[in-house]
């Protein structure tokens, strides 16, 4: 409370500290704690020392509404929905002004917004589309990194979903409303919410934020490649690139992995009833057989590494020192990842290289693990023999004592 008061006073500047803000005082009285006057204290603009009048105009020093909200004093009042982006851009597109508060902040949001579907529709008079305040809120705007902000990475999908999951609202645009529900089943959502990885993608990562629009078919792989760089490079050189990127080709990565509901990839995608390859390649054809072959290699490597891991864990639980082999096994796992990566080239020879390297590590670590288990057994047999010998020695001493004492 004290901090908020200090902040509030600071927002007026030292010279004006003694002058009450008539916007706040009057609106607080009128709204009875339910309007902007009560929420604005946490707004980033107030925190940075700005006041209501800096956006809405007027004279906040006058207690007379006729003066404080007079056009002569520059009072703009509530902007029309179509004017909101320009209203915010007054400051946010001004690099000189923004530099005073956030020197690293971008100032091209308005330009980007105008290129977005939202911006274009708004310009055409559709006031139902999102403007700045629909995503950032109004009078309670917080920094993006503030976890309470609706555009904090953890909340972006919720914020977009607020409109895009609304069937009634989306009906007139004829776009689906299941994106948010699908996204919540995806590996990206898992990474964001379960692992707490705030760099994991949400809506804006692929669609853009201020310039939001769906990626075009030919650019989908570029979008995914922003993060999955190596996958995109191999895919771009593969036979699939030209086919998927063509009209009616489906659009790159999403053909196999889908878009919003991306699941953890599995070799089941290559062969069997859940195969995505089967969508284009009939069973028994050379491409389907190659996919099945590559799946078998990957499954074989995975199983071999699992087996080595299990043996090493058993050895470790028995107190054997196998940490070096366990570190080596991590390199084996890296080869499995490389194999999955190489798969995107659709070149079996390229896949075979990391598979062979991984199999060699699996064999090597298995050997170490099995040796450790043999060593454990040797120690236990050795212990048994030693205990027997020690018992015999104790017995011999006991007999010696008896002989001495009789």
């Amino acid at each position: 409370m004290r901090a908020a008061t200090t902040l509030f006073l600071l927002s007026f500047g030292l010279g004006a500290a003694a002058v009450p803000d008539s916007c706040i005082s009057c609106h607080a009285a009128l709204e009875e704690g339910k309007g902007p006057a009560s929420t604005i204290k946490n707004d980033i603009h107030i925190v940075h020392g700005l006041s209501c009048a800096d956006c809405h105009g007027g004279d906040r020093t006058s207690q007379d509404p006729e003066v404080s909200m007079s056009k002569a004093k520059g009072f703009k009042g509530r902007p029309a929905r179509t004017d909101i982006p320009k209203f915010c851009a007054t400051c946010h597109s001004n690099p000189d002004y923004m530099r005073k508060f956030a020197p690293r902040e971008r100032v091209d949001q308005f330009e980007l917004y105008q290129t977005s579907i939202h911006g274009k529709r708004l310009a055409a008079g559709d006031v139902k589309v999102a403007t700045c305040i629909d995503c950032h809120s109004v009078h309670d705007i917080r920094a993006v990194k503030d976890s309470l902000s609706p555009v904090h990475p953890l909340h972006v999908a919720d914020t977009c979903g607020h409109c895009h999951s609304d069937k009634e609202r989306m009906a007139q645009y004829k776009i689906p409303t299941n994106q948010f529900a699908e996204y919540r089943t995806s590996v990206h959502w898992q990474a964001m919410t379960k692992r707490g990885d705030l760099s994991a993608p949400s809506c804006a990562s692929c669609h853009g934020n201020h310039g939001a629009k769906p990626p075009q078919v030919e650019s989908i792989s570029e979008v995914c490649g922003t993060c999955h760089v190596l996958f995109e490079q191999l895919y771009s050189r593969s036979v699939h690139k030209a086919i998927f990127s063509s009209a009616g080709g489906g659009g790159g990565c999403v053909v196999c992995h889908s878009n919003h509901g991306i699941q953890s990839p599995d070799t089941k995608m290559l062969t069997g009833s859940a195969s995505v390859c089967a969508g284009c390649h009939d069973a028994g054809t050379p491409p389907a057989s190659t996919a099945a072959q590559m799946a078998a290699w990957l499954n074989g490597l995975d199983a071999a590494l699992e087996n080595s891991d299990a043996v090493l864990k058993t050895a470790e639980k028995s107190g054997m020192e196998v940490s070096e082999a366990q570190v080596r096994l991590i390199e084996g796992r890296e080869n499995l990842v490389k194999s999955r990566l190489a798969l995107h080239s659709m070149q079996p020879d390229q896949v075979r290289i990391p598979v062979d390297a991984g199999m060699a590590i699996a064999r090597e670590t298995l050997y170490v693990g099995q040796n450790a288990l043999r060593e454990r057994d040797f120690r236990r047999y050795g212990l048994g023999v030693s205990v027997i010998l020690i018992s015999l020695a104790i017995l011999a001493i006991r007999l010696l004592i008896r002989r001495i004492e009789t």
Partner: protein
């Protein structure tokens, strides 16, 4: 010259130069009192045996161990994985260190409960207490040497506690760490303490302690009627029995080392966060847990400081036991000494368990 004459002449030659027959005569005349509590005498011998095991295995470990931050952990791993029977030597060294301290504690309490510290054995008691302290120092310094995550952070906690000692705390912490924090300097000096300084002091003190035991003989608990007391020759009768016990201890050590090899852990990373539930070795756990229980401040005094003051006062009372317990009006003081011993056993037992569980 017959063989018997040759043997006798050779022995005479050696006796003239070394006086070895004096030792033989001493052993011939040394006796051990036989009573219900004779078994407690074995713990002194077990402690001595385990010190021998530590010396033997420690020398072998030194063949491969490298006391630098860059090499310590890897050299211990090398011992555990590549050196023939290195795992056995290191595991026995670690287990033996723990059994040694346990045995030394049992030996100390057996002395207290049989009041064997009384005149003329005050110096035997004092040297024994000092030896126990040295064994704890051995444990504390040796714990860091593998330079793994647990030992690194446990040493940080341990030296932090030492740093709260009134007046000398900061200087003591710097002396132990060889700097402001646990690092390369700490490892080198802990190694120095562990293999040079502490052994040098210990060997002298062990010699002194054993010589005093030899001089005064073994103490007989008061209150045993002479009719119920008999004696056994130390050599060979008692010695052979002690040898049987040593073999038994060796079997226990081998079993522990083979079934529960001493783990290596992860290499120390000073930039990593401390592992969860970090705590010192079991023999410091009761004190550690007590300090944890204390509030940050009791009136104007820091809780930890108060705890250290309490332990310090208790240690002084304990060390001076032979001097205050035998004053006139001794019955009450004897009961007080026994009560203090019972309290300490109970306290150490309960708080060590609580320290593990909590």
């Amino acid at each position: 010259m017959s063989a018997a004459e040759l043997k006798e002449k050779t022995l005479d030659w050696f006796d003239e130069r070394t006086g070895w027959r004096m030792v033989r005569d001493l052993l011939d005349h040394k006796v051990v009192p036989m009573h219900a509590g004779t078994a407690w005498y074995y713990f002194g011998g077990i402690t001595l045996f385990l010190i021998g095991v530590q010396l033997f295995t420690g020398v072998l470990l030194l063949l491969y161990y490298r006391p630098t931050v860059a090499e310590a952990f890897d050299s211990v791993r090398f011992i555990m994985t590549r050196v023939d029977f290195g795992w056995l030597i290191r595991s026995i060294h670690s287990w033996s260190a723990n059994l040694l301290i346990l045995s030394a504690f049992i030996h100390m309490f057996s002395v207290v409960f049989t009041h064997a510290y009384r005149r003329p054995r005050e110096l035997t008691w004092l040297s024994g207490i000092l030896l126990l302290g040295l064994m704890l120092c051995f444990g504390f310094s040796g714990y860091l040497l593998p330079w793994n995550q647990i030992s690194y952070f446990a040493t940080k906690v341990g030296t932090d506690v030492a740093g709260t000692t009134p007046f000398a705390g900061p200087a003591l912490a710097r002396l132990l760490r060889g700097g402001e924090d646990v690092g390369a300097g700490t490892l080198t000096r802990f190694f120095d303490f562990h293999v040079i300084l502490l052994p040098l002091i210990s060997f002298g003190l062990i010699g002194f302690h054993v010589a005093l035991v030899q001089k005064h003989g073994m103490s007989t608990p008061s209150g045993i009627p002479a009719s119920k007391l008999s004696h056994m020759k130390f050599f060979p009768n008692f010695f052979l029995r002690e040898l049987m016990v040593w073999y038994g201890v060796l079997a226990v050590l081998g079993t522990l080392a083979a079934i529960f090899p001493w783990e290596l852990g992860e290499k120390a990373d000073p930039f990593a966060s401390a592992p969860a539930g970090i705590r010192p070795e079991w023999y410091f756990l009761a004190e550690f847990y007590t300090l944890k229980l204390l509030p940050s401040h009791v009136w104007i005094v820091e809780g930890e400081l108060l705890g250290l003051f309490f332990f310090g006062a208790l240690a002084v009372v304990w060390v001076l036991l032979p001097f205050w317990e035998v004053k006139p009006g001794g019955e009450r003081r004897t009961r007080l000494a026994t009560g203090l011993g019972v309290f300490l056993v109970f306290y150490l037992f309960v708080f060590t368990i609580l320290g593990y569980v909590k």
